[in-house]
Amino acid sequence: MVEKRAFISGNEAVAAGVCLARPHVIAAYPITPQTTVIERLAEMVEDESLRAEYLHVESEHSALSACIGASAVGARTFTATSSQGLLYMAECLHYASGGRFPVVMMNANRSVALPWNIYGDQRDSLSLLDCGWIQAYAEDAQESLDMILHAYAIAEHPDVLTPMMINLDGFVITHTYELVTIPAQSDADLFLAPFQTSNKMDFDSPMSLGFTAGPAYNQAFKQLQHLAMLSASRVIREVEEKFGQLFKRNYSGLLETLYCDDAEYIIVTLGSVAGTLRPVIERLRALGERVGLVRIRYMRPFPLEEIRKALAGAKAVGVLEKDISFGFEGTVYTNVNSALMSANLMRPRLRNFIGGLGGKNISAQDVEMMFSRLKSSDEGERVEFI
């Protein structure tokens, strides 16, 4: 088998990535806009192009529980969900991270009811930032596929052993068709070794699993989770480097920067909307404007040093996100602001742009408007809905 090029949707790219990772167990419950991922995987299992146990569960809570159970015997697992389904899993998210089970999940970012809405925003995953999962945000279908392969290598690394959630903007990535390179199985096998862990149920070395830890000992387990998540920053770079050598596609770790070396006005964002910003930034650059972009690829672990470095020379920074923590500000803004506040830097002016909620379009004109807001010294609203 050789590498091939295919015109597929983001969801199909995820399914292709999962297939290459050879999971033992897939358990999922369908929800728009995730459905076609698990439909495609079901077809692969049916026609035996993927040899895996496919569990038809009755809910998302059960889907993740089943993955945890399978992971607990040393199986490589996959699940996918979105929005209400992710929230329904919330309890199990903590079980997976606390138990250090490296489940890999794709989440189709979608608005949370009410009002009912199936379109994309990031309130579902960002509201679960503290559940102990590595959280990555893809920009397009190719990155989605590659991130699935990265995810198993990162999550299953012995220094990490932490579950990972790959977020794709609902519809904008999940349902948009793009030309995607699908690696050959033999190369994927070179990149990704089979899952090995001592943290499992095993007849030869019996363990008690999922034990209790009282007040004297509980906190140490949480501290270990924190340290493992911090180690993930290094492991992510190592994994991407190995991937780049094998597949000639290079990724830039926890975040990606564009023109940040000399940019005075920078927009920080995550997910597919970076694709809207890029051509606007190129156009403004051609007019001599010193604008730039930071695209956060990982919200956890958070790119603390990288953010400080990228924004060190900026006069004004706008954080654009599809999320709002009601009564305060966007969660990404809170994180970026904290990274800057805790560094001994000249702090740029910071503004928070909230957009895209419930799938509301963010246009090129909106991007231009945001840059002109950044340029004006007038303080304006700290948090602005666009």
Binding site: G99, R100, S198, A220
Partner: protein, 101 residues
């Protein structure tokens, strides 16, 4: 008796490196007692007991054990004092005694 022995030589973790990764640990490590809240203690009267084993079956914590002579013993390190054994015993052979003030 077929209940797990307490591991009295177990050394609790002191530093982070002593902790296991995740919540998995070699089985059979009963390392602590868990009965401090018991206010009433069940006491079996061996003379009245007919050895019907109802209490043995119904104890929700499985802490009534059969000893090598076929008699019954309660593991007070883990008995929570719920009184179910006493309530269910048809011979009225289990008395609940106060644990003291």
């Amino acid at each position: 008796m077929n209940f797990p022995e307490r591991n009295r030589s177990f050394k609790p973790p002191k530093e982070l490196k002593d902790y296991p990764v995740g919540t998995a640990f070699p089985a059979g490590h009963l390392v602590d007692t868990n009965a401090a809240w018991r206010s009433l203690r069940p006491v079996i009267d061996a003379i009245k007991c007919s050895n019907c084993l109802i209490c043995w079956l119904l104890c929700p914590d499985g802490v009534i054990h059969r000893n090598s002579e076929g008699g019954l013993e309660i593991d007070y390190d883990f008995c929570k004092g719920c009184g179910i054994c006493s309530k269910e015993c048809r011979q009225k052979a289990i008395r609940m005694e106060s644990e003291g003030e």
